[in-house]
Structure formats: structure tokens, C-alpha cells
């Protein structure tokens, strides 16, 4: 057992997969000797750079992602990083409009085993923070992963690299160097599409992702002192969504709060809420509440930025709200 940061855990997962499978290669801007933005590739160059398995590219997100799609179609397993989720729109055509549909459109002949890494999230970096994951959730054929802990980050990255579909992998910048977690010495993987109950509780279900899982857990600790036991469900993979785990939790508690950092309107949390309303309406004891940013661009100034984001206090308010019986 060792203690690794989220960033270290990601890198360790990638390195392990590269040792196992020679078809895995990395592409990105400044990922070579420099180590990648926020040290996202730290140490990898020394082991894999000279073997030609790391490709430093010009600033060309569309061609980076498009070429990785092409390489994946031909049997390689690229892991491409476009630095930040803020640049996602530059790669949307090859990723969402081409790659995502290839398995279906080719009637099962074309596989696109690739991972698109991107950093995002409000944190100390104070730039490139936009959470655009909800755009991708609407696209059939894409997997969307958002880990919340170092343990999950490593295990999910390994599965994403082994997956035969395009996987969008969101790495939260506030978690990157901010938290450490226990990583077992032996190898492990975490399957995509499986949520994790991060805290058990019988009173309210809070479904969250990435940074919001931590706010939910903090809120749960405080509420526990008042005798309110919150169950925190970490989706881990937003698409495909683990409906069973969410439904099992809601059937137990009868109350649901959904939290994410992406905008509320049209956000992926609406899908969680709608799914529960469709499939477990009679189990609900109160209306569902979503906690997510207002429908405005992300304000810069610290106080405005804090008002914009969900936090522990907002999650606690939402939990209290759903505790009122119909």
C-alpha cells in the first residue's frame, strides 16, 4: 500500500498499461521531456519517450484527436491529451461526430480503442476550468469517465485504456495534486460503467461526480451529527450510467439530490433525475433536487466564483429540502 496523488495515480495506471500492451501510445502537447501540463505525464518520457511511444504535437486539437481515431481504427490504442476540457470543442468533430458512431455504423467492424484525457474543474489553477462533460453524455457511443479519488483514477484509467471504445476521461484539477489516497501494491482495475457508494446512509441519496463527491461527503459528515444519514453515490462513469446502483440507493432512501459542477440546465444530472423519475417514481418521498451552477458563464473573481459553484453548504441545504415530506 502506498499514498499517491490523483496525478501520480493516473500516471502509474498509464505506465502499467504501456508495459502490458505495446499498442498503447501517448499523444499530446508538451507531454515529452517537459512532463505535460500540471505534470500530467511526469516520468513517462524517461521510460517510453525514447521508444517512440510518446508523440509531442503542435497545437492542433482536431488533428490530434482525429489522428488518434485513425490510429485506433488501425489497431493502436492511443491515449491523447488535449490539456484542458476547455479545448474540447476543437476536437468534437472527430471525437463525437466521427469516432463515437463507428462501431454502430460499421455494423461491428470498426473499433476505436482510444482515450481522450482532459483536465478541467474549478481549483487553484483558476483557468481552463469549464466542465463540458454534459455535451458528451448526449453522444451515443462515447464513454465519459470522471474519477473522484486517486484509487478510482488509476483503476478507471486502466480500464479506459483497455476499452475498445472512445473514452473521454475528465481529470479534475482541484484534485490533481490536492489529495492523496491509498493505492494497493498489487494490480487492480475498476470497470467502466459501475458507480461506487462512497458512504452508506438510509435517509437521503446524493449522486455526485468528481470534486462534488468530496463536497457531498463533507456535507454528509456534518449532517450525520444531526442524525441525518446521507448515502453518497459516486457515478465515476457518467456514460454509460450505472442505473442499478442509483436506483437501489433511491429505493432505500426515497430521497434524491444530484450534484455536479457542470451547468444545471441540460446537465447530465438532469438525466439522473429523469431516469429516477421514470423508473422509481413511486419510491420517492419528496421531489428530486439538483445542485449545480446557474446558467451563466463561469465568473472569474473569487467571491463570484464561489457563489457560482456547488459546495458543502449548498449540498446540505438540498438534503434538508428533500427531507421535507410531500
Amino acid at each position: 500500500m502506498k499514498q499517491l496523488t490523483y496525478q501520480e495515480a493516473l500516471v502509474e495506471g498509464i505506465a502499467e498499461e504501456m508495459r502490458i500492451d505495446q499498442d498503447v501510445f501517448l499523444m499530446g502537447q508538451d507531454i515529452g521531456a517537459w512532463g505535460g501540463a500540471l505534470m500530467s505525464h511526469k516520468g513517462l518520457w524517461e521510460e517510453f519517450g525514447t521508444a517512440g511511444r510518446m508523440i509531442d504535437t503542435p497545437i492542433s486539437e482536431s488533428a490530434m484527436v482525429g489522428s488518434c481515431v485513425g490510429a485506433a481504427m488501425m489497431g493502436m490504442r492511443p491515449v491523447v491529451q488535449i490539456m484542458f476540457g476547455e479545448f474540447l470543442s476543437l476536437a468534437m468533430q472527430p471525437l463525437a461526430c466521427d469516432a463515437a458512431g463507428m462501431w454502430y455504423y460499421s455494423a461491428g467492424k470498426t473499433r476505436v480503442p482510444m482515450v481522450l484525457r482532459m483536465m478541467y474543474g474549478v481549483g487553484p489553477h483558476r483557468g481552463h476550468e469549464q466542465d463540458y462533460h454534459s455535451w458528451l453524455v448526449n453522444v451515443p457511443g462515447l464513454k465519459v469517465v470522471m474519477p473522484s479519488t486517486p484509487y478510482d483514477a488509476k483503476g478507471l484509467m486502466k480500464s479506459a485504456i483497455r476499452d475498445d471504445n472512445p473514452v473521454a476521461f475528465f481529470e479534475h484539477m482541484n484534485l490533481y495534486h490536492g489529495i492523496r489516497g491509498e493505492i494497493p501494491d498489487e494490480e487492480y482495475v475498476i470497470p467502466l460503467g459501475i458507480a461506487d457508494v462512497k458512504r452508506k446512509g438510509n435517509d437521503v441519496s446524493v449522486v455526485a461526480t468528481a470534486m462534488m463527491v468530496h463536497h457531498a461527503l463533507e456535507a454528509a459528515e456534518d449532517l450525520s451529527k444531526e442524525g441525518i444519514e446521507v448515502e453518497v453515490v459516486d457515478l465515476r462513469t457518467v456514460s454509460p450510467m450505472d442505473k442499478e446502483t442509483v436506483l437501489a440507493s433511491v429505493k432505500k432512501t426515497g430521497r434524491l439530490v444530484v450534484v455536479h459542477e457542470a451547468w444545471k440546465f441540460g446537465g447530465s444530472g438532469a438525466e439522473v433525475a429523469a431516469m429516477v423519475a421514470e423508473e422509481a417514481f413511486t419510491d420517492l418521498k419528496a421531489p428530486i433536487v439538483r445542485v449545480a451552477p446557474p446558467h451563466i458563464p463561469i465568473p472569474f473573481s473569487t467571491p463570484l466564483n464561489k457563489m457560482f459553484l456547488p459546495d458543502k453548504k449548498k449540498v446540505m441545504e438540498a438534503v434538508r429540502k428533500v427531507l421535507v415530506n410531500l
Partner: protein
Amino acid sequence: MALTNEDLLAIYRYMLEGRMFEAAIAKFKGNYHPAEGEEAVIVGTFYNLRNEDVVVPHFRGSIIVSYMRGAPLRKLFAGIMGKDTNYNHGRWRGDIWGPPELNIIGMFSGALGASISLAIGAAMAAKLKKTDNVAVVTFGDGTSNQGNFHEAINMAAVLKLPTVFVCQNNQYAVSTPARKGLGCRSVADRAVGYGIPGVEVDGNDVGAVHEAVQEAVKRAREGKGPTLIEALTYRVLGHWIADPATYRSAKEVEEWKKKDPIDHFQKKLIKAGVLTAEKIEEIRKTMEEKISVSLKQAEEDPWPGEEWLGADDVFAPNKLGGVAQ
């Protein structure tokens, strides 16, 4: 490598058969994008490549490339119609997409440009796997203004990826003439900006196109990097079959029709004693028969059943097994 008489005949056949095939499609599909007049670029570029080379054809002429790589007419007709007997069981339009098993990367969306990035990715895979296979991609003059063109060619240049970029310049992007869409004189001139060779070639001369492409293929196989070729030709018909093309003069069209690549090549081959009027008649008759039989079969072929709707078939099951579902 000099072309043998068999090569010359095969090239002629593909051009003529390609035109006849597309004419048959045009009869039942008014929104088809015909390549009439551009066959020299299509056949000259894609003739004589290895099966292992990856071909990434422009949408205009894509179906001729599938035919050249061995796809049967019946399946291709079925792809245009959306019948079950096509390679993808009617899940995706067959006019701009070719079967992956023939190492064709077709278009998986209607948006232009992404194909060029996919092509350099295929070239990257060939290089990473330490083969000397190449990727050959064609695209229009209009597509050469799209961001992917610039990003992908620059990246192929700096990474020395074995790619051959061929601009099938038919002088029109829908209704926009190349002179209004391009700031440069020739698409080949853009190669200077990427530090790679730029070659201009007469796109109505199939021999010239073939020679230029083969030279670029050789260069790519030797690890010397990509080449950008502009093959200047002309879109004789509308953007699609039913397009009245009122945005250009009849005189302009007539002038270009006189430069028809098939007529031009046919005369050359007859003069050289490689082709005879009888042989032409035989090729025509055989193809007419093939088209009529295949078309009838495709018409009678079944539509895809509900099993191909595939609501649970959006993700590939993982070859590596159990862990990552």
C-alpha cells in the same frame, strides 16, 4: 515503375466502369454526388496501391474506390439504398462510406476535413507498427480550406508520417468556385507552408496523376514524409445530380467536357495499340450486364430488420475481456 499494357487497360476499365456505375446510381438517386469528369484523379490515385495501404477517399468518387478495391456492385448498390445486404446493413449511407475490411476509411459523418486527420492517424499506425505501408487521402478544393487540412498536413509533415494528400480540385465547392474560396493560386502552393513537396498535376490526365501519386507513395514508404498533390480537374455535373448548377456558364462546362479524361485516355490507348473499338464495346457490354444484374438484385434485396436497429449495440464489446465493460 512503368505501367504495363495490362495496367493501362485496367485503369481505363476502372474509369469507364466507374462512370457507368455512377450513371446507374444517378438514375434512382437524385441527391447523389457524381464524380463524372473526375475519374482520372480517382483511378490514377488509387490504382496500384497495396491491400495493406489505407485509402481515405473524398466523398465524390468514394464508391468507385470501393469498387476498385473489390467490393461487389450489388453490395454497393444496396449501400446506396440502405438495404440489408450492404456492408453495414443499412446503418449508414453507402455513398460516402466504404467497407473497412478493404482498408478503406470512409466518411462516418457528413462533415468534411476529419477524413484527413483520420488518414494521418492510419499513417501513424503504419509507422508505429514499423511497416512501410502508407495512407492515401483525397479531398476537394473546398475541403482544403477546412481546419483539419492544415492541422493534419502540418502534423504529418513534422512527424514525417507516410501520407499522400491529393486534392481532387474540381474547381467547385457546391456553388463556390475555387477562385473565390482559395486565397492561393494552387492548393499545391500551400505545401510550402508545411515544408513538404507540393506537386501540381493535370487531373484529367490519368497517367500524370498516377505517376505523381506513385512518386509520393515511394517517398512516403522510404520514410521521407508526406507530399501534397493538386490534381486539377472539373466537376462536369452539379454538386448533386439534381443540382441545376445555375451558378456557372454553359460555355465553361462545354469547354471542360472537351477535356474529358476518359475520351482523352481512350484516344491515347487506341493510338498506342493497347485498346480497340471492339475491346471498348466488350468492356461496356460486360459492365452494362453486371450493372443491370446487380441493380436488380439490390432492388430485390431485403430491408434491414429490427435486429439491426441495435439499441444495445452502440459500444464495442471489449476484446480484452471481463474488466472493462
